[in-house]
């Protein structure tokens, strides 16, 4: 049991990282992680390794995050940054790309690298609050778009505007920090 608690404690920072990425609120993230660890301690199990334990904990965390989203749904609103029309920076008034999209080359080459995952994670973290939350709900919690609309009481049109902006921002961030060769992660 002492070992089990120690293992949980060791994984806590990772759980907190994803909780923060999802909720964009430090206090709610702490609550979700505490709830997760309490639930885990109440039914200790043995795992073949740290990786299996993590998979189990992340599974619990995902449920606790949805609980937190429900509990705080009234406060999950857009920020000023969310409302900035990034699309107007990327497209001209006739709807053409201001800068031609570049060839990103062989996808496997990028995807194989752990550094690329780190850059992607940093780019998700840089998304404005509501866009980050919606992106995570869709891509990490894997909620269906109609579930997201229901939980947050937003219209499908609004959801798509925000997801569109989130992906355009993510694309810009990856272009800047990976594909243009700057590769921030490699320096750190």
């Amino acid at each position: 049991m002492a070992d089990f608690s120690a293992e949980l404690e060791r994984l806590r920072p990772q759980l907190l990282k994803y909780a923060r990425l999802q909720l964009r609120n430090a206090a709610w993230a702490e609550d979700a992680v505490s709830d997760t660890l309490l639930a885990a301690i109440e039914r200790p199990q043995t795992f073949a390794g740290q990786s299996q334990l993590k998979t189990w904990l992340i599974g619990i965390l995902k449920h606790k995050l949805i609980d937190q989203i429900r509990r705080n749904s009234r406060e999950l609103s857009t920020t000023r940054e969310d409302d900035e029309p990034i699309e107007d920076e990327l497209f001209d008034s006739t709807g053409h790309w201001r800068d031609q999209p570049q060839d990103w080359g062989d996808p496997e080459h990028a995807l194989r690298q752990v550094d690329f995952m780190r850059v992607l994670e940093a780019c998700v973290e840089l998304l404005p609050g509501q866009q980050g939350r919606l992106f995570m709900m869709r891509e990490w919690l894997e909620l269906e778009t109609d579930e997201i609309c229901k939980e947050l009481a937003i219209s499908p049109t609004n959801l798509w505007v925000m997801l569109h902006r989130a992906r355009l921002r993510l694309r810009e961030c990856l272009q800047l920090n990976w594909f243009s060769g700057a590769q921030l992660a490699k320096e750190s």
């Binding site: 994803y18 990786s51 993590k54 998979t55 992340i58 599974g59 699309e87 990327l90 497209f91 006739t94 709807g95 053409h96 790309w97 031609q100 999209p101 570049q102 060839d103 990103w104 996808p107 990028a110 995807l111 690329f116 995952m117 992607l120 994670e121 891509e139 990490w140 894997e142 778009t145 798509w160 997801l163 569109h164 992906r167 355009l168 993510l170 694309r171 990856l174």
Partner: protein, 65 residues
């Protein structure tokens, strides 16, 4: 906006939606016509596909490693 003419800006949204839902036939046709005439947007298709695979991989990385 003419019946089947879409700008790159509109197409970038349609491409993202097409990854997740079945677009109405008119939008699918408009998308196809745009792609035949545009140099820039086919690259976005590749970029979006890469981003999709990357987030999938990141998700499983977050769960297992």
């Amino acid at each position: 906006m003419s019946l089947l003419k879409r700008s790159c800006k509109e197409v970038s949204l349609l491409l993202m939606q097409a990854q997740e839902l079945q677009l109405p036939w008119r939008e699918r046709l408009a998308l196809r016509l745009h792609m035949m005439a545009c140099d820039a947007c086919p690259r976005i298709v590749d970029q979006l596909a890469l981003m999709r695979r990357a987030t999938e991989r990141w998700r499983s990385y977050s769960e297992n490693e």
